[in-house]
Amino acid sequence: MSKNSKDNKNDVKPAAVDNDLDLFDDFDDDPLSATSVSRKSLVIFFVIDTSGSMKGTKIGELNTVMEELIPEIRRVGEADTEVKVAVLTFSTGVKWMYSEPVAIEDFEWSRLSASGVTSMGEAFKELSLRMSRNSFLNSPSLSFAPVIFLMTDGYPSDDYKEGLKVLSANSWYKFGLKAALGIGNEANDEMLAEFTGTPDTVVHAYSGNQLAQMIKIVAVTASQIGSKSMTLADQNDAELSDEDVYASKQKMLGQQIQELVNKNDSDDISFDSGW
């Protein structure tokens, strides 16, 4: 779906149609020697604000919850989707945690520290650059649209609108599942909704506990929905059109996040339930 996919079309070759099988061919002819069924891939992008204001409990809590989150997401993808994780941090500059997306089975969280300003626009541009068939999304088989999860505690110090404009032209972003978490009083939910395209997938955390909860709710729900095909036929009894299904995963993500968040607002449910 990215612009680059056009250039890659030529790489795709149909199987040779040679049915005159030469039995003396030296090819591996064991009917049991199968390799794993080709799995669909999903990359989860975490885009994390590590500016100076995140210093202290915010970044501490974030590091801890991310470490704990990885095994939870691992369970989500073990069936027929290969899940990979990429982490982009932004402060005065932008930086990837690893040089390419890492399979969830092998992913280890490397603890982040916070300092500097909030170059969110630059982060959007960097994200757009890497969300390409020639870069981070280079799986030869089919991919689901990526999950992109933005976390920030403040207002961008650069021109985020320009960055978002670049990002918006990226097809992977357009079809991706987008969610955002605002941390503390400074973060602006309206601006985050510009990024996600809908306020339904924007959540807000004011305390350490909430931060941990919100990250888990959003990351687990998004990877669950992102790593599965849509169950397209839900209530319809008429032929579905492209418009019927457009962005249905993003809508479903919004619904589920809102359900879970509202549940967590009520005090009768303890922090350890609802997962």
Partner: protein, 451 residues
């Protein structure tokens, strides 16, 4: 949804309590816990009723299934319903997956993940069929399980790779997730798993029923044999990103079989679909034709889909057409050189195999040490695909002399080299010779070596 906690007790409809002991996994409809009931360990499926259209109707259907009982022992069937909690949530008890079985998902992935409880590190462990015969037996058993279910007037609705446990040594099959099973024609909300759903369900114009089960069955069998997706080829991969609209097109209105003989635009792609490319060349035409029919005319016309019995017979034949050559090669006769109608030759080592002709079928059974005659080949009505009645062995007293041993419980009537007929009692055998003739089932079926 209401989560259950370890140690929590849940009341059952017919009395007694089950105690939660752990979590086994979670799925789209809820969570599966392990639980103790009557000093036995069970699996407890607990529903997220907020995702159900009509929880009471769903519960009534499970209750009816429990009352009806399982169609056969190939099903891990719901056994005991729990009482509903105050918020309406409920679940049911079923037997646990035996340790000797693996999930079909793990078989397709060729490994399972074992998580070290201390480090949280996931380790890969191989999951593969230990021999070709057990893989084909699994195919027979899967087709048969659905035949039994459909004969009971029910449809499975959500047939997919998560729905089976298979023993990779024997090919025994257990169908699990039986909670969406409903009388044919009813549907309580489930649509199915993409990739396994019949195109008419994907398109939104049909609900799951026996006919859509037949489509899903063909997908399951295709994946078991060819280890790939029947509709995922060049045309699909070109899209790169599987958006909702792309799925609707490739699995719905524009679904196209990768080996459609009349349209090569969606062929498997080297480097991605290597399994399908490799295995498609190896299977005999009658197997390939069955899949071609399922995924060409059967895509749009549910009446053209293969019935379970056809799959069953086809795989019984395929299993009887396997040769294990002394050189170590084990493969279908389609991968051996056909010298004449009655003889095959190994292309690698040159060993020649004669065949046995049966009066009740056209295909011939190759003879090699270890080749077997199954009860189901002599009795077309049986649902037993594992019992062996005869096996080809080497005479222990006369090395090099091969014969068929009667391992059934009834005598055979056999023409011996002296031209006379003798009774071969269970446990005895007869040598293979040019004029061999065996009468099974009081002479109803005969097998002979003559060309």
């Amino acid at each position: 949804m209401t989560d259950l906690k370890i140690g929590q007790e849940v009341e059952l409809e017919y009395g007694g309590r089950a105690t939660i002991t752990g979590i086994i996994g979670s799925g789209g409809q809820g969570v599966v816990y392990s639980a103790d009931y009557n000093s036995t360990s069970w699996a407890l499926k607990w529903y997220d009723i907020t995702k159900m259209k009509d929880p009471q109707q769903f519960k009534n259907n499970i209750k009816k299934n429990i009352d009806d009982g399982a169609p056969s022992n190939k099903f891990l069937w719901p056994r005991y319903l729990t009482k509903s909690l105050s918020d309406g949530s409920f679940g049911y008890l079923m037997e646990l997956k035996p340790d000797t079985f693996d999930t079909f998902v793990d078989i397709l992935n060729t490994y399972k993940l074992k998580v070290d409880p201390l480090t949280g590190k996931a380790m890969k462990q191989d999951v593969r069929f230990t021999n070709l015969t057990s893989m084909i037996t699994a195919a027979i058993n899967i087709a048969n399980a659905f035949r039994q279910l459909h004969r009971a007037g029910k449809s499975y609705q959500d047939l997919n790779d998560g729905g089976f446990f298979i023993n990779v040594d024997t090919g025994a099959v257990l169908v699990c997730d039986c909670d969406n099973i409903a009388p044919d024609g009813s549907n309580f909300g489930i649509g199915g798993k993409p990739g396994y759903m019949a195109p008419e369900i994907v398109r939104g114009v049909a609900r799951p029923d026996v006919q859509t089960d037949k489509y899903s069955l063909a997908v399951v069998l295709f994946k078991l044999l060819f280890r790939g997706d029947p509709l995922e080829g060049e045309k699909v991969v070109k899209d790169v990103c599987l958006t909702e609209a792309a799925e609707l097109s490739h699995y719905g209105a524009n679904a196209q079989f990768v080996y459609d003989p009349d349209d090569d635009s969606n062929r498997p792609v080297r480097g991605i679909h290597d399994n399908v490319i490799k295995f498609w060349r190896m299977y005999p035409d009658y197997v390939k034709d069955a899949f071609i029919r399922s995924f060409t005319v059967g895509l749009t016309d549910p009446g053209k889909r293969l019935i379970e019995k056809e799959w069953q017979q086809l795989f019984i034949r395929l299993r009887s057409e396997v040769i294990a050559c002394p050189c170590g090669r084990k493969n279908y006769t389609s991968m051996f050189k056909k010298v004449d109608d009655a003889t095959y030759e190994c292309p690698k080592c040159g060993t020649v195999f004669s065949t046995l002709k049966f009066s009740n079928r056209e295909s011939r059974m190759p003879l090699y040490i270890g080749s077997r005659i199954y009860e189901c080949e002599l009795d077309p009505e049986t649902d037993d695909f594992i019992t062996v009645v005869g096996e080809l062995v080497e005479n222990k007293l006369k090395p090099g002399v091969l014969g068929l041993k009667n391992v059934s419980d009834t005598p055979w009537r056999v023409k011996m080299p002296d031209g006379m007929f003798y009774d071969i009692e269970p446990g005895k055998g007869c040598p293979i010779w040019q004029g061999l003739e065996i009468q099974f089932k009081n002479g109803m079926i005969t097998a002979s070596v003559e060309p």
